[in-house]
Amino acid sequence: MNTPVLSAQDIRKSYGRGANRFDALKGVTLDVHSGESVAIVGKSGSGKSTLMHLLALLDNPDSGTLSVNGTDATSLSHSQLNRLRNADFGFVFQQFFLTPNASVLDNVTLPLRIAGMGARERKTRGMAVLEQLELADKAKNRATNLSGGQKQRAVIARALVNNPAVIFADEPTGNLDSVTGGIVEDILFSLNKEKGITLVLVTHDLDLAARCDRQLFLHDGLEEPGLEQSGAGTRPVSVSAPASAPVAAPASPPVHAPTPGTPTRRGRHAGTEQGGAE
């Protein structure tokens, strides 16, 4: 097997100190290969977003090694890191993070502007990617005037505009209704299949996770092995959990077992995380 695009070996990360110390990740190992789609699944607080941020090199782990195409992330200089984030990674956020008063085109071409590309080429590439996501007619609109689905498509356009190798998507459908969410999912997976873009998805939605090639289930900062694919509800307790970590109470399972046919896309905390774009 060739070198993984992204590799995390036994990474740990904690926030705060003393009594407020919170261990977000307690030793997680994950390899992501080129062209794969990987879902990081877990409920809120499980450390899934932290893991994604670390994989995207937006943050440094407390311990463990991260490597990109076999290169240790700590050996990368600031400018190499910035180049990597700018050119090789694309981000899709649940809260969109669109600049409200700028036009859709300006929002989408932000990575190109950061890369230092000229205005004319920016426009050509921006319009091409908007065309691809059927948003070309909205190019001049303000980002605030878009519907939720349009906003998320604009965000995907922004992630795509640099022809990235990897797209990181943090709850990409969390703020969308099921129909719109389905469309956004289809776009992401078709990019993965047709263009070979590696997809790293963070979600608590098992239906969405099930569409990925691989799933990594996280619970309290640790991987839960055994709960493979769309596992049939047999949820073994984490064997690698240290003695001090209490076994999850049966009343609150770490993940919902998916019930076929039931849309579970709308998350419990989706409402509280809404309204990100303003």
């Binding site: 941020h53 995207a56 937006l58 943050d59 600031h78 400018s79 890191l81 910035n82 180049r83 990597l84 984030r85 700018n86 050119a87 981000f91 956020f93 993070f97 600049t99 008063n101 700028a102 932000l110 990575p111 502007r113 950061i114 890369a115 230092g116 000229g118 205005a119 990100g276």
Partner: protein, 436 residues
């Protein structure tokens, strides 16, 4: 990110919160406006003085006075009486007397010779004050006149005619423009070459008349006020004025003028001045005399500028506040840009540029408004209150000093922007993206 894009982003970001930006711009505007006005006054007044100095034209002339009583230490008590010392009775002042309570030390003819003998001095002449009673043209009425004592030494600012002829043996007179109408001389050009009559009283009280030709018509200025008389005319009038004067009176002069080589360096002039100083005389060049004046003007302008700078510093805090709020509001956007590979340095540049732009906007508007308003006020003043000083434009806007002001304001704005910009540049993309 390219410079143009940073500039564009900074400009559009500044206008995102229009009210807040405009309030900050107003604060900067006030400072820049004040600074532009005060510096324009400084330029205007100093330029006027410089023109006047140039009209004195005499870098080769020293005004020499007697050192002594005026500068004497109060604790030293009265000086010993010297019968040979000139009093200022006769030859000086209309009544031949110094004002009560003021004691002048006058120069005697012997002093003039001493000054003339000083190395480096080409010649020395007493500064004679004559007091004609009236001036008349062609029997059209007698008018009082003021004589400009320095006229023989200066290069006058002429409206028409010529300066005194070089040969210097003709009775010539330079009239201020304001005299023409009353005397019935008509326009400036027409007055040149006409003959006027001056009336003067002898020491014994008889009135005599002397005729003189109008050589030219001049602008009145700070240092050359009144009618200018050529040296022969002054001598003639002086002779009449002193007719019948008792011969035992010691003749005294308030001051003497000494010519030096026009190519003298400052060091050579300093040597001559020191030499005269050692002999008990105080010598000043025109520049020395006017330097004092300029120092005062510069002092006043400096104080006004200090107030303007204080206003600008206050405006600087306004910029800090505006940008801090802006950084706070745009935390997420900053996080996003960093996540997309924008370096901290570029973020810093973006926010600094925004501060500089606010500074530029405020200072440019301030300067433009100051120029517009100042020119109108300056013109209005020179036509009314300051009409007595032709050539004085109280405010003059020098492009260089306006550029410097805009530059300074932009620098202050940049300095004010460093704190918020640093805060923005240091943000961690993750914390910024999580920020609610």
């Amino acid at each position: 990110m390219r410079f143009v894009d940073i500039l564009g982003a900074a400009v559009s970001n500044s206008f995102r919160s229009k009210l807040r930006t405009s309030l900050t711009v107003i604060a900067v505007f006030i400072g820049a406006f004040t600074l532009t006005i005060t510096s324009a006054i400084g330029t205007g007044v100093n330029e006027y003085i410089t023109t006047q100095v140039a009209s004195m034209g005499a870098a080769d002339v020293l005004t020499v006075t007697k050192q002594g009583d005026q500068t004497k230490n109060i604790d030293a008590g009265p000086a010993k009486y010297d019968p040979a010392k000139a009093s200022l009775s006769g030859g000086f002042g209309p009544g031949g007397q110094a004002p009560p309570g003021v004691s002048f030390s006058a120069l005697t003819l012997k002093d003039i010779d001493t000054i003339g003998a000083t190395p480096g001095i080409l010649d020395a002449n007493p500064l004679t004050q004559v007091s004609p009673n009236y001036i008349e043209y062609n029997g059209r009425g007698k008018f009082e006149l003021t004589v400009d004592p320095a006229a023989a030494l200066t290069t006058p600012d002429l409206v028409a005619g010529e300066p005194f002829s070089e040969s210097g043996d003709a009775n010539e007179i330079l009239l201020p423009g304001s005299y023409l109408e009353n005397l019935g001389l008509g326009k400036a050009d027409a007055a040149v070459g006409k003959t006027v009559t001056l009336g003067i009283t002898t020491y014994t009280g008889e009135q005599r008349e002397v005729t003189a030709t109008v050589a030219g018509v001049k602008n009145e200025s700070l240092f050359s006020n009144g009618v200018g008389l050529s040296q022969p005319l002054t001598d003639a009038l002086s002779a009449i004025q002193n007719q019948g004067k008792p011969s035992n009176t010691v003749e005294g002069f308030f001051a003497a003028t000494a010519h030096i080589d026009a190519n003298s360096t400052q060091e050579q002039i300093d040597v001559i001045k020191a030499d005269l100083d050692a002999q008990g005389f105080k010598a000043q060049t025109v520049a020395d005399q006017l330097g004092t004046f300029e120092t005062v003007i510069n002092g006043i302008v400096g104080v006004l500028n200090a107030f303007a700078v204080i206003a600008l510093i206050a405006a600087g805090f306004g910029i800090i506040n505006t940008l801090l709020m802006s950084v706070q509001e745009r935390t997420r956007e900053i996080g996003l840009m960093k996540a997309m590979g924008m370096s901290g340095g570029k973020i810093y540049a973006l926010f600094s540029m925004e501060a500089i732009f606010i500074g530029f906007l405020g200072s440019a508007i301030g300067a433009v408004v100051a120029i517009a308003l100042g020119s109108v006020i300056s013109n209005a003043l020179s036509n009314t209150v300051l009409s007595g000083l032709p050539g004085l434009h109280i405010m003059q806007f020098a492009p260089a000093s306006i550029a410097v002001i805009i530059g300074i304001v932009m620098l202050i704005a940049f300095l004010a922007g460093t704190l918020p910009a640093r805060r923005a540049a240091r943000q961690n993309p993750i914390d910024a993206l999580r920020y609610e």
